[in-house]
Symmetry: C2
Subunit: 194 residues, 2 copies
DNA sequence: GTTAACTCATACACGACTGTTCGAGTTAGG
DNA sequence: CCTAACTCGAACAGTCGTGTATGAGTTAAC
């Protein structure tokens, strides 16, 4: 019986290992969405059986890893001041979240593959709402175009970030250049008036 | 010995089956990049062994399927008149190639996963050049912005198309709406002057 | 210090996929 | 019609993945 009934009674070293496993899962799945449990356990410096002691299945682990990344994202977004000029706010947003998005886009793909349909979208709702609100505010202030739906513009931001992240990963795009390219491109796509 | 030494001596029914297998491969891998050989063989109405008689390994099959789609793309692009206003040309380009891109983006992913690094980019060079030339012409004529590299703008076109294709596949985006959204967005991203 | 919690290596059952072999049946093509 | 080409199902070997069981060793916690 390696799975205690209540988290509060969990020993400190066990809790520590759970953290290491989650760290490793985020790192490995962020690199390769098909990373195996063995791979993750090894990266965490933990036996495979120990991992299964804390996470009953790979799916549960993936979901936990996604939840952790999304919590990080939520925290990061909460710390940003997005109340000023929507264009500046979008630049700040991209500049700050770029790294996190780039590292977790593959994790998102992993989650899409192993979690029930809609579950990812559901978990992603929190951070996504903040972005969506920024876009809508820009539209309301007449800065962003209104002939395309806000949901689409939000999607475009995701598309470009994800694509750029993939190209950075394969070395086809300079890591330091990416944030500026993404910002300028998405801004141009969102701006009202041509 | 099911593999003849020369294609010219291949029997007609065998040639026919090769076509059916390639069709099925494009369809299956376009739906799921991890589609198995059994799945493809079944979709082609052919035994798995027969398939291996024509394609020595899964990788070779994936490459052949990709080559076929790229040839289709090349042919499609060659039939388009992209010499007029770059903006109109881009709209025509997107409108015509949207369906093909949407159906083969997963196939591209499959190829990325199983082929040696760089091979996909190599095979993709043909059709990609046409798009790239259009973008560069637009830049040279002062219609498209020049503060971002043409290669980046080409990438953005791919990102948005691929993302939209994925969302159409999951039902989050209306199939009939997609081409217009993609065109307008990419045009806005490429246009000079803000 | 004692105990319960925890870790870990080994090993197993199970399923999925790839690629190959065999032998028998079918068919195109001269 | 005759032969070589082709097809096919069944079965096999090998790999890799997940998830479970065991049992012995380690360590936190009271």
């Amino acid at each position: 019986m390696t799975r205690p009934s209540a988290k509060s009674t969990r020993r400190a070293d066990a809790q520590h290992n759970v953290e290491r496993i989650l760290d490793a899962a985020v790192a490995c799945l962020g690199r390769d969405p098909d990373a195996s449990v063995s791979e993750i356990a090894q990266a965490a410096g933990v036996g495979r059986v120990t991992l299964y002691g804390h996470f009953p299945s790979r799916d549960v682990l993936v979901e936990a890893a996604l939840a952790r990344v999304l919590a990080d994202g939520e925290k990061l977004l909460a710390g940003l001041d997005l109340t000023g000029d929507p264009q500046d706010a979008l630049r700040v947003l991209v500049g700050s979240s770029w790294l996190l998005i780039a590292q977790s886009s593959a994790l998102l793909e992993a989650a899409q593959a192993s979690l029930p349909p809609g579950r990812v979208h559901e978990l992603h709702a929190g951070p996504a709402r903040r972005v969506d609100q920024l876009i809508r505010r820009g539209q309301a202030e007449g800065i962003f175009r209104t002939d395309l739906p806000a949901s689409w513009l939000t999607s475009v931001l995701h598309y470009v970030m994800k694509g750029a992240a993939a190209d950075v990963a394969t070395g086809q795009l300079d890591r330091t250049e990416a944030p500026r390219l993404v910002s300028e491109t998405v801004l141009a796509a969102c701006r009202a008036g041509g």
